[in-house]
Amino acid sequence: MKLAIASGKGGTGKTTLTVALAQAAQAPVQLLDCDVEEPNSHLFFTKGDSKRDVVTVAVPHIDPQRCTHCGLCGDFCAYNALACLPTETILFEGLCHSCGGCMRLCPHQAISERQQRIGYIDQWRHGQIDLFSGVLDVGQAMSPPLIRAVKRHQQADKLILLDCPPGTSCPLTTTIHDADVVILVTEPTPFGLHDLQIAVETVRQLNRPVAVIINRSDLGDQSIHDYCRSKKIPILLQIPFEKRIAVAYSRGDGLLDALPGLQPQLALVLNQARKLYRENLT
C-alpha cells in the first residue's frame, strides 16, 4: 500500500505522523520524504551510513553551428524556455520541463540532450525502515522531477509512506496522484479548516481515498469534525496538544518516544487505511 501523508497547511504534523507510522508498522517500510524543498524525516533517525545518488534532468543543448534561428523550437515550447532571436537561440534552463519536444522537432539536428543536476537522494536503513530523502538544490525552481526520482524507489511488496510537500500545487499532486490512500493531517483552527478544504478538493479530483488525522485536537473548535462529517471523511486519529510531544520534538525525538502508548492506535490507523484502499479497489 502506498500511503501519502499530506496536509495543505504547513506545520500541522505531516512528518511527525509519517515517522511515527513508520515506527509503529513493525513491518518492512519504505519512508519516502517527498518534501524535497525542506526534507526533515531523517532528523528523527540516528544517522548511519547513507548512500547518495545525484538526480539530473535532461535539458536542451543548442549547437550554434547548426542552428539556423528558424524559431520552430521557440514556437513549440509551451513553457517559453527558448528565446529565438534573429541571430541566436537562448535557453532559460529554469523554465524547461524536460519534455524533449524541441530536440525531436529541430529540422537541423541543432539540439541535443544535456543532463543538468537538480538535487540528490540520500538513503538510509534503520531496522525495518528504508528511508529515502530527496533534496532539491538551492536555486532550483521545479521539484516534481526530483519527487518522481524519489518515488522510483517504491517497492510494491512493502508498506510505502510518502511524506508529502505542503500546499496543493504540482509538488503535492506529483506525490499523491498514484497513492492508494491519502491521509490529511490538520488542526482544529480556521487556518487548518481552510487549507484542509482545499486539500480535500485536490485529493478528490485525483480520485484518491482520503482520511483525516487531527493534530493538537484539543485546541480550537469542532469545525473540522463538522466538515468531515458533511463530506463523509473518516477521522482516523486525534492527537492531543501535549507538552511532552513538543519537548521530545525539540530533542529530535518522535511522537512515539513521547507517547509510546500511541503505538496500537497508529497500527490501527494503518489498518484503517488498508481498509479504505481495499474498499476503493472494489
Partner: protein
Amino acid sequence: MKIAFSTNGTNREDLVDSRFGRAERFVIIDSISDELQVVDNIQNRQSSQGAGIQSATTLINQGVGAVVTGQCGPKAFTLLERSGIRVYPCPAITIAEAFRQVQQNKLSATTSATVEGHWGEV
C-alpha cells in the same frame, strides 16, 4: 529608430503600462517616419510562465531599438540588453509624453532589471 511602449491602450494618448511581459499591447512608434504600429501581446499575457521572454522576443523580432515600460524583469532585460535594445523605465504618463521625453533625453535607460522575476503576475 523604432521605440516600443508597453500599454493597455492603442494610441499616443494612452498610458504607459507598468508591466512589460504581461502588458496587453505594445505601441511601436518609428521616430523617423512617425508611423504608429500596435502589436497585440495577448498570447504572452496568458502564458503560464516566461511572458517576459516572449514579449522581449517579439519586440526584438520587430526590430525595435528602445523599450519604454514601467518595470522590466531579469530574463526580459537580459534578452533586450543582449540585442542592444535600451530599456527606459517610465511612470504612467501618456505614450506621446514618454515619446517626447525619450527624444529629448529626459528618460534614462536602466543598466539592470528594475524588478525581480514574476513581478507583473496578478
